[in-house]
Amino acid sequence: MNKKVTIASDWLAGCAGCHMSLLDIDERLVALLQVADLQATPITDLKQPPASGVDVGILEGAVNNTAGEEVARRMRQRCKILVALGDCAVFGGVPTLRNGFSCEESLRRAYLETESTAEGRIPDDPELAQMKPVQPLGDVVDVDIYVPGCPPSPDAIFHVLTELAAGRQPKLTGKLLDWH
């Protein structure tokens, strides 16, 4: 049991599609659970990687606000190997389209100008995170393994995780290396 590789994952500004692609390994999920111990993930109830740390940290999505930065930093601190999962984490992806506009423009459109919005206002509660220009994960923390793809194929993800569980450095070649 303690032999298992411990994994924590989380998502930033993305679409959760990479985690879905992880689930798309289907029955192999069972095999994965034999060698890997999924700790804090969006589909489990532990809210953050344990302070004791994990072997592998997986982050999906780009960094686009202060809270995202915190998550990225904490994950970096608490994992031995950090995996950037998917185009958003690797390149920046679709969320970076927002960088072409000022936050104000975007917020105005969404919360004041949209045709269906009545008595609009721009959300400004301190509970809400501060928006920042969208960056790929690698521009915020050091990334050890890049797994591009929108989303990465289940095969690619399974390959990476099983290689890591076996203590090897995964390498994406052929069909496993795929961006689109």
Binding site: A13, A72, A118, I122
Partner: protein, 478 residues
């Protein structure tokens, strides 16, 4: 002294949210808020792109229901071209949508909500997940995986992959269905029917054991909205929008294209997720619920035989009339999954399903187009405005989860009120609050997408907001 309790992130939902509970000096609930914490700005940054790119851009809003956005976007494109896709194209689009409904509902019931129902809300959080479920019931877990796989494979066979497929284009679809694929899919139907029935059995069992909870957990009245066919049966791909009041009396029946006349959105300073409501009744009186329970209340029946049978039992279980208990969302969800599966069979046996008449080509005939569809979590609306070259000038999106935004806060409040009666805060109490949110299966990827995780804290703050107590969630027994 008054306290604020923060639950963040709410887990086992698609995306992240946080809940804050404001307790008064007596430790009684003052107010509860369901925050959606992040914003991506699709409405803005799609401006200047071409309308026919949108099915591939907007599906990136959400990796759980990309097909909803993919198809809704293509439908808005149809409207801009001013064409009706050939019948076979509609059948194939609906088939893909049914695949998604099955996978999304299956994943939610077994992998996200399941742990609460099967393992119990008070079981160890370290086990309250898919892995724990597997330990508790390996067979069931495998069935869950296979049911989800069945749905995902439908999407893959049509759109070349499971997440973010490339299939629908304005005017139709880009690929015909191969005979081998049709036969393979058909072959899977009976077994999957079994799996869904197993799920229903589990749920009914749970419901009987927890009849009280089912009846009392987060129960409140609201309006309901969903697509229906000409017989007022639940429709997921196309049809008319039917809005009913708290007594299920029809308030409106309207075409998706006219949504602006009926639906408006309210904004709160503390959430990036807007609050849609029925224009005529205003905010918040006009708020309504969508998604499985919303749809089953908005409609009068299910269009397929097996689902209809279950629908009747469901009504009885809820004491007939209006089903208001949030936990019934799980029940309704499985009934819809069954419907989707029956629909898959109907579609695959339609003589037109293998046709190669797949696309109507046309120039840009309308400068505006609305697409609408019932995503797994509720009504999804895409509205585009283009210039004479088909470049987007304006975009408006109302996503499924948004409609339930108010309901989730209401639900959280109901539960918190009955749970937080002063005294120590237990993890189980907090999870109960999450269970409400989970019942609605909010897809926050769609809504705007989630913020990253903060440490999961229960903070107790004084009136001056000074920190008085702090509970860390129990660490796993590793």
């Amino acid at each position: 002294m008054s306290k604020t309790i923060t639950i963040e992130p709410v887990t086992r939902i698609e995306g992240h949210a946080k809940v804050t509970l404001h307790l008064d000096d007596a430790g009684k609930l003052e107010s509860a808020r369901f925050h959606v914490n992040e914003f991506r700005g699709f409405e803005k940054f799609c401006e200047g792109r071409l309308f026919y790119e949108m099915p591939l851009i907007t599906e990136r809003i959400c990796g759980i229901c990309p097909v909803s956005h993919h198809l809704t976007s293509a439908k808005a494109g149809d409207a801009i071209l001013g064409v009706e896709p050939p019948r076979p194209a509609h059948l194939l689009r609906e088939l893909m949508h049914m695949g998604q409904t099955i996978q999304s509902h299956a994943m939610h019931f077994f992998m996200l909500a399941g742990p609460d129902l099967i393992l119990g809300a008070d079981s160890s959080p370290a086990l309250r997940n898919v892995a724990g479920l597997y330990q508790a019931d390996p067979q069931l877990t495998v069935k869950a995986i296979q049911l989800r796989k069945f749905g995902q494979e439908i999407i893959e066979r049509l759109g070349e992959r499971r997440v973010h497929p490339n299939f629908a284009v304005p005017g139709g679809v880009n690929k015909a269905l191969a005979v081998v694929d049709r036969d393979a899919m058909l072959a899977g139907v009976p077994e999957m029917q079994g799996f869904i029935k197993d799920g229903l059995a589990i749920l009914k069992g749970w419901a009987e054991k927890h009849a009280e909870e089912m009846r009392r957990f987060a129960v409140f009245s609201s309006g309901y909205l969903g697509l229906v066919d000409e017989n007022d049966a639940v429709q997921l791909y196309d049809g008319a929008l039917r809005l009913v009041d708290a007594k299920r009396k029809e308030l409106e029946r309207f075409k998706g294209a006219d949504y602006l006349d009926y639906i408006a959105e309210h904004v709160e300073s503390w959430s990036y997720l807007k609050f849609p409501y029925y224009r005529r009744l205003g905010w918040p009186a006009g708020t309504y619920r969508v998604g499985p329970l919303g749809r089953l209340n908005a409609a009068k029946r299910m269009a397929t035989p097996l689902a209809q049978l279950e629908y009747v039992q469901y009504q009885q279980a809820a004491g007939g009339g209006v089903v208001e208990g949030s936990l019934f969302y799980h029940y309704a969800r499985l009934i819809e999954a069954l419907y989707a599966l029956e629909r898959v069979q109907q579609l695959l046996t339609d003589p037109d399903i293998l046709s190669k008449d797949l696309r109507t080509t046309a120039g840009i005939t309308n400068r505006e187009g609305v697409g609408i569809l019932e995503a797994p979590r509720g009504t999804l609306i895409h509205h585009y405005w283009v210039d004479e070259n088909g470049m987007l000038e304006k975009v408006n999106l109302i996503v499924a989860t948004g409609h339930n935004n108010y309901a989730m806060s209401r639900g959280v409040e109901e539960v918190a009120r009955s749970t937080f009666t002063g005294g120590a805060v237990t993890e189980g109490m907090l999870n109960r609050v999450e269970m409400v949110v989970r019942a609605y299966d909010p897809c926050l990827s769609c809504s705007t997408h989630a913020v990253g995780q903060m440490p999961m804290l229960v903070e107790v703050r004084g009136p001056g907001n000074e920190l008085l107590e702090q509970h860390q969630r129990p660490a796993p027994a590793v």
